[in-house]
Amino acid sequence: MSLYFGLIMFLCIVPTLVICFFQMYPKNWQEKKLILGVKNREEFREGEAHEAVNKIYQKCRRQALGIVIVGCIISAILLLLRGFALQTTLWMSFILLALVAISIPMAVGNRELKDLKRRLGLKEGAGISFVDLSNAGNVRALKGWQVALPNAVGSLFLIPVLLEDLGVIRLGTGMEAGSFLGTGVMGICVGMGLLISALAFLMDGLRNEVISSDSAVNANYNRAKKKNFADFFVMFLWVNVIFMIGLAGLFYFRYSDALSLITLTLYLGLVMVGIAVFVSRDKRIEALYHKDMVLLSDDDDSWVLGMFYYNPKDKRLNVEKRVGVGGTINLAHPMGKVLGGLAALCLLGSVLSVVWICMLESTPIRLYTEEGRIVCHQLRDEYVIEYGDILAVSFGENVRELRMIKVNGVGTDQLLKGIFTVDFEHDCRVFLAPAAGNYIRIQTLEHTYYVSGATAEETQEAYEALVAYGVGF
């Protein structure tokens, strides 16, 4: 399973790094609209300025290529790792570091190019923007039904899973009704579909770029770009539906972690193919219209490091990205500040959650008896069961024989903790280290507990203490 998880991460991060490299550092900068997040001006393509720009650009490109190669090597090494916590921690940290690292040469190059512009006194176009009256608000490529249809189809597959979880219907033997795992996962997919739809409309409503004084050229250019965006998002929505159908099949007939991971891999694979097609079409559009790009407006100074848009004079919230493809937010906009803060919090949250998972896995659980009660303890979690509440106690030799479905809590190779459905019994409190092998089942008035110590001996010792007290026998 850990090799499989590693493979999924590898298949995601390596193509992402390669796509990022070719998108951020294309071979022929002379033919591109932007260089390292700075507008590619006519002056950059002649005389001494050309030499200086080329030197800066090639240096950054070489550095980025080095980062990609090192990134691929590290990804291959990470494939050899075992252990969920270590894998998750290192992959998460690596992904964040890799995405930051590949942007560093760009940020440095962006600063150097802006310095060069200042030294050369290139100010033409600063503060200038163009608007095409004929196309303002007219160019759209996304139709409402294109988005509504996949969302509706996807939602159809959520309903039976929800009804089964509620116990209204019985469809198959894939999942235990009442665990709400199926409803939760399918609900996330439906939410994902709605999020993609919102993004699709946001990108379709982006300001039309004015590249030429000919309105027809501007209209065609923007329509082509928006059509590419629309196709990508619609494709993404249908891939989401296919994923939901796959998951629904698993939930109805035969659920297993391995099969759900295979479905997830297919989903990610299709998304990666979609991204590659989108990027390639975007490049083709840019190349096709390159000769028509005659109007020069320069808002380089509003792009911090060429990546973050901050322009208090611009009232728009979303703008097209300069680096890569897609859109970004204006961090000077009040809503942009809120969204930027939320994104930073999410990033911090994901780092902290990985640290927390790592702590959970590296801290052994403890099981002991004291003063008429049995205590399960790890970090901040504790189950205390008074002897007086115990109705029955039994000892199990092999924890792997239990059929467990997590409802809430932690479920990794090293730790099972929280609320689980165990052998079709709902709402069981689980506190197990699978490595210990054995376990104690404790039945109280309110709940059923499945507990173990970090080792088989610790579990055995706690069980013997219960036997000695004659609890639950």
């Binding site: 163009f130 608007v131 095409d132 303002a136 608000g137 009232k315």
Partner: protein
Amino acid sequence: MVIRIDELSDIPIYLQIRNQIVMGISSGELGAGEQLPTVRALALEMGINTMTVSKAYQLLKTEGYIMTDRKNGARVRLEIKMQANIPEGNKTELRRIVSEARISGVSKQELLRLVNEYYGDEK
């Protein structure tokens, strides 16, 4: 028709919009009865406040260049009233331009050539 907005200019943005639409009408780039974008769409495209665009449209309407109604939005007037005289404000502006050109050594012929180019080639 493409209009150019200079954020760093001393001329307010609503006046820049107004001036360029007037130039567009004069050059024929904006034909009689041609639909103009809605206030909201134009403000969104420019990344400016809707009030700024509204002010420009209001001015154009007052001056008789465009007509607006709730149903059809803003359109270039089918017939613009020809007063055949230059307003005092524009005369002063023209005088300033001619004076500055003379001081900086621009010949009368060159100035007239420009006037001919801007006036004569239009329409």
